[in-house]
Amino acid sequence: MSRLLLSCATLLAAPAWAGEIWVTNELDDTISVIDTGTLEVVRTIETGERPRGITFAHDGSVVYICASDSDAVQVMDPETGEILHDLPSGEDPEQFALAPDGRHLWIANEDDAISTVVDVESRRVVAQIDVGIEPEGMAVSPDGKVAITTSETTNMAHWIDTATHETFANTLVDTRPRHAEFTEDGGRLWVSSEIGGTVTVFDTATQGELAKIRFEIAGVHPDKIQPVGFEFTADHGTVFVALGPANHVAVVNATTYEVEDYILVGRRVWHMAFDANGEKLFTTNGVSGDVTVIDVASREALQSIKVGRFPWGAALRPGT
């Protein structure tokens, strides 16, 4: 009987399902699932301890979750919320990036000064690479040839050849680098520095610095402007940058590197994810325990959605 009801509910809900944003709640050990159509939390799913980084397999069949204090990357069935298995992740995994091949997961082990590469199919560690202290940000280039780890205390971006697992360059960035992303064409690398208060753009070919983006908000002390997560819009013309305890998201022109706008969001904004058509942006606000929904076109905050305690990561569940 209950199974029948459940499948009816699934059938009824399916046509209205616009997409889902999955948010990890660091201090609740849960994921809040937000329906991007109704902007409501539709499910809360238990995870391992201190979930932070979250990303879906390219086909959406599973979701990977960094359960930092469980020292595991958990692999979950997004339909049932069931943990299928853990991947060997090294200690204290904080963030990761799934390579374009969908097979290799690059994991930053924050407490251990290494990066771990895991084959998600064989569930084996392919390599562990010594990097600087407190590795945090992780990115893999669109062609899959270069991986980046940023280290928070060493203040560097480490450039790793994915074929040999060797570091081929180490570039200094401002204090406490957090997040790294390649542009769609792989030509540039963006790195945010939380305490330095800047975002640095590198030329991938030469590892040379192209630009340093600074932020300024009237009435907010520069020390409180702490760039962490950022995301490119679908057209790659704009970057939204979370500014942490400045409680704002900056809107940056991806070509001119000019800061065009600041949007007030919840307290201590960490990371963000777009909905399926790129019209809405969902930011995780750690201290206020909510998610701000931003209308991308008008660059305005639409509403807040209460989630669990200390929301951290956010990921769009690919539509089916």
């Binding site: 060997p88 290494i114 928070e152 203040n155 204090t175 020390d223």
Partner: protein
């Protein structure tokens, strides 16, 4: 799974390839000099002071620096020298200065000043990690001394801001008999006035029984006739009687200062802003929690490392100039970048206000504004500073 040997070999290959100096290593020798002091006997043996207090923090700072250093070809070497109680610090200081022009010093204020005034110390850069005296940042400041440890005034201001924020505005003070207690008492009095609290009662602690046995019986009576107050301040930096005052007061009042609600440079209860990573790195290295002096020494060595990384130089004058410039920012795991005040050489930093089990708040608190930097609401600000050795200050 892990193959450290191979990974390390790879790294050294990388270093050689990416080092701006080619295969040449630039040595960065840092000396740590400690004057051991006799401590007055205290009533409880519950919390012994670890032998390596401060030194362990410097070691962690050295290790942290080495991670960037190995990529840049900077070789950080830390040497430690100690002088027993009552012995002269200066011969050891001369020896240390002969080997290193970057010196961390954990010594009482008078010894630190004699060291800083040595001819051999001119042109060297000294980081004070052990003396919180306000005078060292004021009239007695020296151009070759920077202060990684927060001053007494900074800590007292943090507590006063917190009490004002909670509207617990009337206070009474019990002050211990030792010089450290009295200096802290003086700082608490000054901060009380600065932030508009009322000091309702102010008396020396003069009970000399064994409170470990009789606290329940004695402290209620000893605090019975204090003028009415919201919070009882205890100046007991020696760690003697304060612990027995808590929950034994005649009136039900919170205790703050050296016990209860305490403003500190660092505490094991800090976990936000990445602090838990620093705590766990320190725990792995030292096998004990990080103490304020460890934090000061860590911050001092990290500051030197940051300056060497950014300037590419190990010259003390180049480092000093960078540390005092607006370009310097140290990630101190307290939510805001740390920097040095260019009028007295004090490391500007947030001050956590803690209980033994949790952080209560982080000063400076929001309502306390400042025209240029809210961190400068803690301690002696530029206009009030009596320090003239830093030139540009005024």
């Amino acid at each position: 799974m892990r193959r450290p040997a191979r990974a390390a070999a790879l790294l050294w290959a990388v270093l050689a390839a990416s080092s701006p100096l080619g295969a040449e290593e630039m040595p960065v020798p840092i000396a740590y000099l400690r004057q051991q002091v006799e401590r007055p006997p205290v009533l409880s043996d519950l919390d012994p002071i670890p032998e390596d207090e401060g030194i362990a923090g410097a070691r962690l700072g050295r290790d942290d620096n080495a991670t960037t250093g190995r990529f840049l070809g900077h070789d950080y070497v830390l040497s430690v020298a100690e002088v027993p109680p009552g012995e002269d610090l200066l011969p050891a200081a001369r020896e240390a200065l002969a080997g290193s022009r970057l010196l961390l010093v954990d010594a009482p204020a008078a010894a630190l000043l004699r060291l800083a005034d040595l001819p051999e110390a001119q042109g060297a850069l000294i980081l004070n990690v052990g003396a919180p005296d306000d005078g060292l940042r004021g009239a007695d400041c020296r151009a070759n001394v920077l202060h990684a440890l927060p001053s007494l005034a900074m800590r007292a201001d943090a507590l006063a801001q917190f009490l004002q924020l909670r509207r617990w505005t009337s206070v009474a003070l019990l002050e211990g008999p030792f010089p450290d207690d009295r200096a802290w008492g003086a700082a608490l009095r000054a901060s009380t006035a600065k932030f508009g609290l009322t000091l309702e009662d102010d008396r020396p602690w003069d009970f000399d029984g064994d409170l470990g046995r009789t606290a329940q019986a004695e402290v209620p009576m000893l605090t019975q006739d204090l003028t009415d107050h919201d919070v009882l301040l205890v100046a007991d930096e020696t760690g003697d009687f304060g612990r027995y005052v808590l929950f034994n007061t005649w009136e039900p009042r919170p205790v703050a200062g050296s016990e209860g609600i305490t403003p500190v440079a660092w505490s094991p209860v800090l976990e936000n802003w990445g602090a838990s990573q620093l705590q766990s790195r320190f725990g792995d290295l030292a096998g004990r929690p990080m103490r304020p002096k460890d934090y000061a020494a860590w911050a001092a060595v990290r500051s030197l490392g940051e300056a060497v990384t950014r300037t590419g130089s190990a010259d003390p004058q180049a480092i000093r100039a960078y540390l005092l410039s607006p370009d310097f920012a140290l990630d101190g795991f307290k939510g805001r970048a740390l920097s040095f005040r260019d009028w007295d050489g004090q490391l500007r930093q947030p001050i956590p206000v803690v209980s033994p089990r949790a952080m209560i708040g982080m000063a400076p608190f929001e309502p306390f504004l400042h025209q240029s930097d809210e961190l400068d609401t803690l301690g002696t600000d530029r206009p009030e500073s009596a320090c003239t050795a830093f030139g540009a200050a005024g």
